[in-house]
Symmetry: D2
Subunit: 301 residues, 4 copies
């Protein structure tokens, strides 16, 4: 449970204070605002603010004076056309701001998405809380033998218990020592900017993260993908739920043309054409490497 | 007058449709939303949407769960501290979307600010309107003799008239020929993407332009500066009025620490110190080049 | 012919001054350095500098201390894997700087690629040359009737002649007036920053443009595409020739997995699967819109 | 000593392989290429590649065909003018690629500079080495009592020893457990992407980092500043030495106009003017806050 009663009370207060605005408003995301979606054992995602809606995408594409008078079906067709043809700038006209609490090793992957605005909790300035990510037993996966950056079977029994004990004990000890080095009030303790170096990568941090819809879709495509590490994928999934309610037309187009689609290479297109012409194509006769052949069969097989 | 009755009616409709929202709302900018501020002879700036307010800057700086309970005076002090010490990320948490109608030669300067989202009216896809910037007589400036990219005295009399005649005649002729090349309905005309090349740089284009407050301040610092070309400065001035009403604390800090301040070089700081110690410093004894000496005297003289 | 004898002499001088370096050197692009590739009637592309080669991509992917000891075949496999799986950061480790002379309307499209460094010739500061793009007769295309931003048949006969006459006459007149407004030496003329507004969009400008290989590939994918406007496509084609010689392995991967490939939507993948299973699928039974069906058939038909 | 004999041998090999190039070459940085500058106890900075030199900055500013024929004194004046007037694009025409080995908590600060290209060693894919940053006794600073993100006195005696013991013991235990969780060959161990979460923030990582000179100067201004954390400042200092030899004119201008200069607010400029006019100004009569008054006195006092 990531929220204290005080935090929940603050969220309730935020949700009870309604304002009048002339701006484009998206009812689907208003229902999410400020609410904490729990992620992992102590993490969360909260939508804090947004700009624009499906109509804003269309408006930008048309660069019209008003919001347009076209029927919704036309808006949908235009949004799908824009997505299919990789027109990215209209999607950049929508913006979202999230509050995220996440383990440091997840934050380190996430921050590689550079086209975003970030304000992270500062461990130079403040003291971090004693909150560490400890995987649930069903996510305690072994190293994959096939894939250098993938997971294999789930560890079980004593093996699993041993890992959980290490992660818990080391986290707690590291935090005890962190506090000890910081010292108590009145005592001269180690500078916070130094003491933090003792904390492991499963400690939680938090940040405000703001990005536009085009770059958010790019983030989701990479991080909601089955090849992404589970611990960042659950954040991407939580965000995807919010986006779906915020810009339903754009999100459906994203699912159809990005998440659910596939990119075929020049060689793969040739293979498909030969197969459709009735030819029996094998990896050997395909001209594709074994690895790519397996990938293509994974798409169309 | 940049608006047709239809456009004004659309704006009125937009301004009459109020929604409820849980988002941070800034009353100062709500009063501006959708309204067209006239700029130059046919240009305009309209605030279309915004995200955040002064409190959002503070909230990001504190990465707190709520909007904070500190008194306004503290918020002001923090915002001024952030501005003075070039902490840019909290200001990035605010975002604004503008609709701008502007001459192409102004758009060409403006677009050099890369950290922004832009959707411009497409002259490949659509036909441009017959609207050209013709300077008002008081802005018809001669080339500066001192400054290679500056203006000198205002042209007068026949000289001015001759220039205005050229600009008007050439614009109109270019547009007549543009239309002629496009052809009339039913006739096979030149492709729009080719015909547009005949149009001069004073024709008006329009775009939706969206950026965060940090990058907007950077834009204003460069483009509201007296050294900026007059024709872009008037746009920066119009935007500055909107920003002032949107985030009054941040804007005042920006005026005090950016627009109204001055950057002194290492050498200039030494000169000031020597002067304050009672020394009579001249350009020759200052160690500064003539050009920099003149610039420093312009600041403290 | 875009070069004066003085310019050609300078290029010859640059090409005759060899230095010793410890940096990674790519012989394929050394042969291009400083050479002017003519584009359109007065335009050009010149490679001015570069950083990295195919091996630098591999080195970054491996973050090794040295350049690696793997055989070339492994490098090729890794580069193809990186391209296939959209790993962009290793390609960002290569950088290229180009000198480009191009019509203003092409520059206006080009500049929309924001992740690049640009220094453009300043018409505030300097006087532009009398050089305008006039299309060759075989590129004088009519507006497409099917595609709002496409070209149809080539104009012929009197119609073509009329267009060419307009473009030539208006360009020349605009330039005569530009010069007249600037005034002659000793006379007080209109400021350059104002006079330039009379010049049409087919006047040539020039810039230094620097970008990394990942963003360059993105540029080429969009601008060397058959749907791009001819006048920018010829620049993309000229650059592609340089890139091919600079990083041959990466370029071939780019051709196979980007330029020559195709993206299929979720629905299109389903259609392909059904077809491969022997089903007779039509647009009506495909679940795809007419437009998307036509696009998919264009890929696999 | 951060280098193994094998690594040193590789560097020696790289330094012995000279190539011919037509590119701009900067002898000052050639002497640094590939060499490892030790930083902290196990860190390093190595210049791997560069593009451009002082002349390339001038060339971009002039957008000339050649490298220009102006005397060096003119180049210097132009570079100083560009720096003084915040013209950033010519400096973007130079690019540098560095190999850096650094503690994770330093990497987390560093990565906030978004306008750069990065390839980091992947702990999902590979196993990290047993190398941890342990501060030298003279850098074991207490928390500042004045400044929430600063350092005070150095810890001494038992207190210091206790801190060092904790950092060393916890690092080693965390690494032992990391290895244990990974398992030995043949045994099924925890996935690397999970095991890494047990490692503290003082473990070393490494990356290739590439940026342009303008953004590098911005990095140096913030990170070579006395207010930056010591552990990142030493990296900035090591890089500054390389830059100084690479582009000596630009670096000197940077020192004079950025590092060594000061920004005065509108209010501070007024204070200086009043003082120069002979007035006795105090904090109370200055109109400045206590904090800003102290900062201004720190500059001119």
């Amino acid at each position: 449970m990531p929220l204290t009663p005080e935090q929940q009370a603050e969220i309730d207060a935020q949700r009870s204070a309604t304002s009048q605005t002339l701006r484009a408003t998206a009812p689907g995301i208003e229902a999410h605002l400020y609410q904490a979606k729990p992620v992992l054992d102590h993490g969360l995602v909260r939508a804090i603010d947004y700009m624009g809606d499906d109509a804003a995408i269309v408006q930008a594409a048309r660069v019209s004076y008003g919001r347009g008078t076209k029927a919704v079906s036309n808006d949908e067709g235009l949004i799908r056309y824009l997505m299919r043809h990789w027109h990215s700038t209209p999607f950049e006209m929508c913006e979202i701001k999230l509050h995220v609490k996440l383990p440091v090793f997840v934050a380190r992957q996430w921050i590689r998405h550079r086209t975003a605005n970030v304000n992270e909790y500062s461990a130079r300035y403040s003291v971090l809380d004693r909150e560490f990510y400890i995987p649930a037993p069903e996510h305690l996966a072994a190293q994959s033998q096939q894939n250098n950056q993938g997971r294999g079977d789930v560890l079980e029994g004593e093996e699993a218990q041993r890992v959980l004990d290490i992660l818990r004990d080391d986290s707690n000890r590291a935090y005890d020592h962190y506090e000890e080095m910081l010292g108590t009030d009145g005592q001269q303790g180690l500078a916070r900017e130094l003491a933090r170096m003792n904390l492991p990568a499963n400690i939680y941090t938090q940040w405000y993260w703001k990005t536009d819809l085009h770059n958010l879709f790019h983030f989701l495509r990479l991080r909601a993908d089955p090849h992404a590490q589970y611990e960042i994928r659950v954040y991407a999934d939580a965000i995807a739920q919010i986006v779906k309610d915020w810009v339903p037309l754009a999100y459906t187009a994203f699912e159809d043309y990005r998440m659910g689609g596939a990119h075929l290479s020049r060689g793969a297109v040739e293979v498909v054409k030969r197969m459709l012409a009735g030819e029996q194509v094998t990896q050997e006769t395909s001209g594709l490497s074994k690895r790519e052949w397996a990938e293509v069969m994974g798409v169309i097989g």
